[in-house]
Symmetry: C2
Subunit: 230 residues, 2 copies
């Protein structure tokens, strides 16, 4: 017997949410990929993703996928583009709402099927399933744009970090090099960092200051209309 019980006058595409999960290991940006166990594209790597349920938004769907793979509930997730090419899935018409998530690698537990999931550095990413190559390019571009104007970078770092770690993150994402001292001055002048602990009197060099992102200060500044700019 046929179980196709949801019927419509016109053909409806399937809607999925995909989630490009970015992490940062202190040196380079990584992305979490899943190896496909079934056709099509069996054996190829792809982003976590799945069908949107009828009672959840696309973002909720993306968060669900994120949690399944990483155990994380509260990461930063943002929708960045919807891909609707007619033949992007060979089986049927599928429209996917693509998101990216920024996670702290230290907080990531292995997902349900860790066996088939792996972190890839950006320059190690193989050719992907479906149109996921294009999705990744777009995600990276959006991340680059975003990190210049919103302090999303902090979502990738530990709560407490050094200025060098923060600079490494910016350099990894934007693929540029900054002068260490200018980066330091600029960041501090922005006023969105607070010292994690007061620098001890006997502190010497080579014992870097630790900072944390100050969300309250940022909210204040943002209200006054302020941009990060890099």
């Amino acid at each position: 017997m046929n179980e196709q019980k949801f019927c419509y006058k016109y053909p409806h595409p399937s809607v999925t949410a995909d989630c490009v999960i970015f992490g940062f290991d202190g040196v380079s940006i990584k992305v979490l990929l899943i190896q496909r166990g079934i056709e099509p594209f069996k054996g190829k790597w792809a982003f976590p993703g799945g069908f949107m349920k009828i009672d959840e938004t696309a973002e909720e769907c993306a968060r669900r996928e994120l949690e399944e793979e990483t155990g994380l509930k509260n990461a930063a997730v943002e929708q960045f583009y919807t891909f609707s090419d007619v033949n992007r899935d060979p089986r049927e018409r599928v429209v996917t709402v693509a998101h990216y998530a920024l996670v702290r690698l230290s907080e990531v537990k292995g997902g349900d099927d860790a066996a088939s999931a792996r972190w890839f550095a950006m320059d190690e990413v193989p050719s992907l399933a479906f149109d996921h190559d294009r999705i990744l390019r777009m995600a990276v571009n959006r991340l680059k744009e975003r990190i210049c104007f919103e302090p999303i970078g902090f979502e990738l770092l530990p709560e407490v970090f050094t200025m060098t770690e923060l600079q490494n993150l910016y350099e990894a994402i934007l693929e540029v090099k900054f002068d260490r001292r200018n980066f330091y001055n600029k960041m501090l002048k922005l006023g969105i960092l607070s010292e994690a602990e007061p620098r001890p009197a006997n502190a010497t060099n080579r014992t870097p200051n630790k900072y944390r992102f100050n969300a309250e200060k940022y909210a204040e500044l943002k209200q006054k209309g302020f941009r990060l700019e890099f």
Copy 2:
């Protein structure tokens, strides 16, 4: 008899594309709205939009809506967000891929049903149908962001324009005021404008220079990695 002949194992949302159409009349930004003739939200204003066909992309769908309302085939259209709130349409689950289009008002012909279509200045826009208030806010924000980094503003102006017209456009979109002389210098220094016709020797003041957007120059500059910045 029932015509519901497209059947699926799981419920599928409808997918639509909406198109926020922006124009510029030399003074203020306008948006094209359609008055709904049927429930829900009968009598309320909304953006042109409609169901995505099974063999077209969301952008093609948005362009189709745009052409129906304005007669324009080649306007600038960009997807900016997909709205998937569960109850955004009271009838059924509808996911909409929202786009904005930038059109030259002079090129717009009345659409199929011009009777129910009207241009509204941004500060005249009434409360809209569905979640279109939110869609408009987001479209405007995206437009503001975009115009700072991509020369999309020229899509709203006639081919040939004066510096004052260009400034008025930027001021209308960004809701700020620029010093006329600084704006003039900055724009010229960017190098993406060419004089529409050489300024005649007998030209006097009060006969403003005419410019046009130089796409070739812009492509060159963009390649070298350059940003507009305002």
